[in-house]
Amino acid sequence: MSSRRNFLRGAGAITAAASAAAVSRVAMAALPEPVLQTRPDTMPPLVPSTGRPYNPCVTLNGWTLPWRMNNGVKEFHLVAEPVVREMSADFKAHLWGYNGQSPGPTIEVVEGDRVRIFVTNKLGELTSIHWHGQRLPNGMDGVTGLNQPGIPPGKTFVYEFVARRPGTFMYHPHADEMVQMAMGMMGFWITHPKAKHPLIDEVDRDFVFLLNAYDIDPGSYTPKIMTMLDFNLWSWNSRIFPGIDPLVVRKNDKVRIRIGNLTMTNHPIHLHGHEFLVTGTDGGPTPKSTRQYEVTTDIAVGQMRQIDFLADEEGDWAFHCHKSHHTMNAMGHDVPTMIGVDHRGVARQITKLIPDYMVMGERGMKDMTEMEMPLPDNTAAMMAGRGPFGSVGMGGMFSVVKVRKDQKPGDYTDPGWYQHPPGTVAYEFGGALPEPARFKAEGPGSMPALKRPTTPTEVKVRKPAGGHSGH
């Protein structure tokens, strides 16, 4: 990556300058150097060295955009450009994003900051940025044609406003947005409170990610931008499980997770092992009176949710969208159900014609996770991920919250699999249970039968036989 710490100097800046060569050098001279990110990993939080202090957040498989202070104004530089995003180890997508990645970098500011964002367009068509959820002058809202002309290719526009209210926000294009969002142009924005806020608790870890979805044919690279609902890749920050990093926390950390939904459907996000409170929405922190403990919160299209919880249960806890298809990677949606279909004889007949044919799915789809079969190029397995007990059989919007008592504060490195204390893992039943002591009259009914049937009666369900005569 180009180091964010070496912002304005060093290799990163040189790379960045070279890659921005399409934009006029004269124009670029006054701009903050754009910083690029070449790796899809989760980057450590960017602790502010200038401006007002705040408690930084961590972008899942992403990063925070560095800034420069210019006469008290925080200056950022976003470059809209085509990117190659590694969505998982075996699958790369050709997307559009910002500063080398899709989604673009998270922008973190503090309530009351004056913010100036330079947006350079290196796409082939007009773009603009809408600052989703912000209070700002109307001309800064980014709707092409309505609030501003589109940013032509090769040009740089400036947005400038004060981050007025603390909360969780997003940014995305508002020019050809159907295409540009389907291609992955989006990012996160956090406005931290300036001072202690009665509704915003201090937390130890603050994670952010966007929900996004793509329709990329297995074996191809570019999303199908016309797809409306039948997506085949459901991602968090354009990563699909097992490509998504775990959310690593220290036991008893107060944890905050902020989730924004830029897909075209809602996502019930579910956390195992803990209850959380929804402490913030699109509109900012929620009143305490409205908060209730949940294990699943539904995030509608275009919405943001901020959930807080106390990570007081050690272990590796699943965290996922509860729409089960959203925890799958590319799969056929028209594949016939094979459950219970006897393949004897037919399989051999098929193998004569198709030598590599293998029966799948007649017991269910779990087989898929057990078999290592070649797939089309650039295709993530439908469900994958290995856990300590075997295949996890998941894909898409699935990750793990790892709670460890010996995790250092501020350390986000993966601690490995949870070591379960003895006797705390579900185990195989072996042997007969002792017959429980039963009350004498238990079983046959409240009164002894006069004449017991000698053979056990088989229960037969009889369906109503025609008409309404049975009423």
Partner: protein, 457 residues
């Protein structure tokens, strides 16, 4: 004069068969025999048995077999004998005749005795002999042509029979795939995973495949029987074995830039037309000098009867110049000569065109077969491989995989057909170089993608 004529009128040692034999050697590289003696017959039967004993009959073997064993061809050879006998007959004086008459009338009994020689025959003999000799030449050429045509026909029939075998085999595979999907669909319905509609769709592929198989079966039988007839086989001999596959496409198509010139020098019909013109030229000269002899019917008397049998022969008439001094005859002879000249030109032009067409067909057939082999079949195979990968990832189901297997098989079968067309075109070209070939008209282009079958459901 009589003695001189009698001297010419003997049988040739080869019975007129030498040019046929030579043509078989030069043009086909094959032996041909005319079974005139028991020894010949035995030898040929032995060769036939040897050829049939081979593990698989190659196209050259088939041609050789047909040349030995086709009874129609042998029947044609006998025509050589008949014609030669007639030629010899024409060169001999008719026996003198003797007449004895006894007539009784009121005046008494009149006894008439006479010995006579056919004067007309004597006068006409050189003409008749010449005509017979020319007819013999023509029959030799015709028999040669028939022999070459039989060879070409046999080659074509061999190609068609082998291709039909291969097609049958592929249709069996298609049917197997359809069987598998129909059976699977049945079990899917049984397990409650398919409704009647979905199952019926899969069933319909099976029904179509069964139909295709039946047609392939019929074609296989018909083409084999046709070859059997050309080879003149019957009884246990009909169990002859053919190779599994057609010969591969040659690495390079034959390049023949001077094919028209080659055809001009080789084509028997062109040669015959030229000879006919030369003959009419001679006849014209004869008519001019004698002014009486109506010989121009010679060589032109050729009847084709309803049942396809041919009558060839000539007509000769002599007359006494009492009223007509022959001016019209000369004019007619000249016209007929010009006709022969035109017919020769016509034959030559047709021959050039035919050979061009045959060569064009041959090159196109080569290109099509090459394209099928190097483009269509590999693409189908790649599609199948990619589909297999998609099946592995549960992106498509088994029915799509099976539909694709059917399409791949159809693609391979398409190559078989184009390879068959290539070898047929090759046989037609070979034939067009020696005589009139029956060129098959091309079928219209086929819309692309039809081989996809029911993949898109």
């Amino acid at each position: 004069m009589t003695a001189g004529l009698a001297g010419c009128a003997s049988f040739s040692p080869d019975g007129g068969f030498a040019p046929v034999e030579a043509a078989a050697k030069d043009r086909l590289g094959k032996d041909v025999r005319w079974a005139r003696t028991a020894a010949d017959g035995e030898m040929m039967a032995q060769r036939v048995a040897e050829l049939l004993a081979q593990p698989a009959l190659s196209p050259d073997d088939a041609v050789q077999l047909a040349l030995f064993n086709n009874r129609g061809l042998q029947a044609r050879f006998t025509e050589l004998g008949i014609t030669e006998a007639e030629l010899v007959q024409a060169g001999r004086m008719a026996n003198p005749g003797f007449t004895f008459g006894r007539l009784k009338s009121v005046d008494g009994v009149e006894i008439e005795r006479g010995i006579h020689l056919s004067l007309a025959r004597l006068i006409a003999m050189p003409l008749i002999y010449g005509a017979e000799a020319r007819r013999f030449e023509r029959v030799k050429r015709e028999v040669t042509m028939d022999m070459l045509a039989l060879a070409a026909e046999t080659r074509r029939a061999w190609v068609q029979a082998v291709a039909a075998n291969e097609t049958l085999r592929y249709m069996q595979q298609v049917k197997e795939a359809a069987d598998a999907s129909a059976e699977l669909a049945r079990r899917m319905e049984q397990a409650g995973n398919f409704n009647k509609l979905t199952r019926a769709r899969e069933q319909s592929f099976y029904a179509d495949a069964a139909l295709g198989l039946a047609r392939a079966d019929r074609a296989q039988r018909a083409t084999r029987e046709r070859l059997t007839r050309l080879l003149g086989l019957w009884g246990a001999q009909t169990q002859f074995r053919l190779p599994e596959r057609l010969p591969d496409l040659p690495a390079q198509p034959k390049d023949q830039p001077d094919i028209e010139r080659l055809a001009m020098s080789q084509r028997l019909d062109v040669q015959a037309a030229r000879l006919a013109a030369e003959q009419t030229a001679r006849n014209l000269g004869l008519t001019r000098t004698t002014r009486f002899i109506n010989v121009l019917e010679l060589g032109l008397a050729r009847n084709k009867l309803e049942d396809g049998a041919r009558q060839t022969g000539y007509d000769i008439a002599l007359e006494l110049p009492l009223f007509d001094w022959g001016g019209a005859r000369v004019a007619r002879a000249e016209a007929i000569y010009m006709q022969a000249v035109q017919l020769t030109a016509w034959a030559a032009i047709d021959a050039r065109s035919e050979v061009r067409e045959a060569y064009g067909n041959y090159r196109t057939a080569y290109d099509i077969a090459l394209h099928q082999r190097d483009e269509v079949v590999p693409v189908r195979k790649r599609i199948s491989e990619e589909q297999q990968l998609r099946y592995n990832g549960m992106i498509i189901g088994v029915f799509e995989l099976l539909a694709d297997a059917r399409a791949q098989v159809a693609g391979v079968n398409g190559y078989i057909n184009s390879l068959r067309d290539f070898w047929l075109a090759q046989a037609e070209l070979d034939m067009a170089l020696v005589g009139r070939a029956s060129l098959s008209l091309p079928t219209g282009p086929v819309a692309g993608g039809m081989a996809g079958g029911g993949a898109a459901h």
